[in-house]
Symmetry: C2
Subunit: 403 residues, 2 copies
């Protein structure tokens, strides 16, 4: 029940990269041959790399290994291996063993060193990792490597995603292509989000790493299926440009802008595909002292089940939105807060607007997509968050009664 | 669909206090005469008082006024006036005006000064407060004042609560009686919780105030319908003992223990009556460095929709519990974490216990009440949290699939 999933433009090949998939039956052996669940991205030259990882204290070993590889080999990555169906998480001491085996298998298949491989796993938590079934698919995955297989890879990394997610951008002569998977679970902070992005723009590891953090903060960390605290959430960015002999970019502004747009597009696709989501809501928070404050307030609104059920019930329950803002833990002057739904002003200076009529708010909340605009009236910073609603029986209790 | 609500022993009268109720039609005029919705507690002598209040930045004016009264008149309170049906919150500048009017009306009816009155409101947020309808009920509420009307008051402060909540304790010759309302909304941190507790034990404001904070931290702040961040959450404690001429208690240990037990009992009743709750789960967290760390971890488990839907689906999904622990923001050594469900050991030292079988965990999770025990293995502190599950269609998506 994805919300208005857009028809995606074709994913563009990225010079220096080939992509392959295989069907291993990772989740269960009887799925072998029925769905693709292994993805390999090979850089034909040593790629510069960056990564952003989950902050969950029980993060999976593949995340530890990925971060170590980025730190030690950030200028010399040759391969990403990713699987769906089993997260290799919550299984104790074996996690690291299995992750290393996955990396070794991929290195051997791709013809590079194990230290040049990044891995990522998503799927069931707490079940033994079927390394043998994956090993049996390695030949298939390398055989299928092709510059034009990004969309197939976007399909193969899905778990409960109802559609595949990819996006491309051109920055001058250079290309950026990324694939993502999300969905999975309703709660923010718990859906495993994977994103692999590749570009031939010539940027160094030192340029890419801080940039990717900034970009993640304005994209994947701005959706209510928040990428930063599941066990396996991982965002990788590889650049082949320097390896391909291009002179390093000095002004990275345009590239960062395009990368941000691409990651926002992917993040929005994840939000549109949240389980049970029937509405896509943009929450703009302005007038805050810092961008981080604005993001915190927006997230507090986006994660509130009471607000989300009000969205689902088309109930313009601005009281719940105020409660959520008040829970954000950010300094608020309630006499300065303004609230609009699309172009309907609900609150001004903390008071209900005299012209506001409930039916006008309801009209906005009935739409499958709308924008809330919160103005804190305290400064010039702002941020935007994207979220969905909470639907079903959950609503019967919550959305139809204002306590 | 409350979980095993226990048959409550009669609420004991507390020397020095009388209680009255009235039907005002607060929520809507046509409810007048159909349900009680105004509660007054009168102290026949000046009472020492303490209060614990919501931390929400949009807290209602009645909360501001209550805290101011406790701070300025903590040794000289004569009346609590509470209403259900309208929270007098989220209505801007008028909130404080209406709250003061409610206080003035109660003072006039009870025959004391306005500065001696505490107020509390619960119900719909964002609608005009029907002060005229409440004014019309003031005569009824004072006419009904009686030392034995605590249970009637417990009924009158309900909003969506399916049963009235009260508890009493004896401490030597002294009595403690409290009433509570909660329920209302599913999410932790958003149900409005009101609790009024009275005792004739002779304790001063200076003794009561810090004690009540400690007690709240071990009771109302330990349930997933958490009292500390809605707009109106209020816990009042009044003591008539000094006004009645008893010599102040020097050793307050026994009293604090009894008050803690009473507040835990009330908090558990609120949890059992959470909307849509079908299970009552106790989460004990031990082996932490501080009690606050243990509480934070317990709360993180209790508020996780993924964990709560696993409870509802009788799915012993320990992976989700680990994810929630990892999200708590507390330092964890994942190689030291242990987890039991009742007497079934699931994890030891961060690894699945070799004797653990899924069916054993499932048997525990099928019960309507069970205990999770998390041992962090890092210290000697501990805390206990009580929570419910998340049921209905929400489960269809979440409880039946392990991503």
């Amino acid at each position: 029940m994805a919300v208005n999933p857009p028809a995606l433009l074709p994913a563009l090949p990225v010079p220096g990269f080939r992509v392959g998939t295989a069907s291993c039956g990772v989740k269960s052996a009887d799925l072998k041959g029925k769905r693709q669940d292994l993805t390999m991205i090979v850089a034909d030259v040593p790629a510069h790399a960056a990564g952003v990882f989950t902050q969950n204290k029980f993060r999976a070993a593949c995340v530890d290994l990925g971060e170590e590889a980025i730190n030690q080999q950030g200028k010399n990555i040759r391969c990403i291996i990713g699987n769906a169906g089993n997260a290799n998480a919550g299984v104790g001491d074996m996690e690291r063993v299995w992750s290393q085996q996955l990396i070794d298998l991929a290195a051997s298949a791709a013809g590079c060193g194990s230290e040049q491989v990044l891995s990522a796993s998503t799927g069931v938590v707490g079940e033994a990792f079927p390394i043998d079934r994956i090993a049996a698919g390695m030949n298939e995955v390398v055989t299928s490597l092709d510059a034009n297989h990004w969309q197939a890879a976007a399909h193969a990394i899905r778990t409960t995603d109802t559609f595949a997610k990819w996006a491309s951008r051109k920055v001058g002569a250079y290309t950026i292509t990324g694939i993502s998977k999300g969905s999975g679970m309703i709660h923010p902070n718990m859906a495993t989000m994977l994103s692999f992005v590749a570009t031939d723009a010539p940027l160094s590891h030192e340029q890419l790493q801080p940039m990717l953090k900034r970009v993640a903060n304005r994209s994947f960390n701005c959706i209510s299926v928040d990428g930063d605290t599941s066990t396996n959430d991982t965002l990788y960015l590889l650049s082949s440009g320097i390896g391909l002999g291009h002179a390093p970019l000095e002004d990275t502004t345009e590239f960062e802008q395009a990368l941000t747009e691409l990651c926002i597009e992917l993040a929005q696709l994840i939000t549109r595909d949240g389980e049970g989501v029937s509405k896509f809501v943009t929450i703009k928070v302005s007038g805050s002292k810092t961008e981080e404050d604005a993001r915190t307030v927006g997230r507090a609104i986006a994660v509130s089940p009471l607000v989300k059920t009000a969205f689902a019930g088309s109930d313009a329950n601005w009281g719940r939105i105020l409660v959520a803002i008040g829970n954000a833990g950010v300094v608020i002057d309630r006499r300065k807060v303004g609230l609009k739904a699309n172009d309907v002003t609900m609150l001004e200076a903390g008071n209900l607007h005299p012209d506001y009529r409930d039916k006008d708010g309801m009209k906005v909340f009935e739409k499958s997509e709308f924008t809330l605009h919160v103005d804190l009236g305290l400064g010039d910073a702002e941020a935007t968050i994207w979220t969905g609603d909470l639907t079903h029986e959950y609503i019967v209790i919550n959305a139809e009664y204002r306590t």
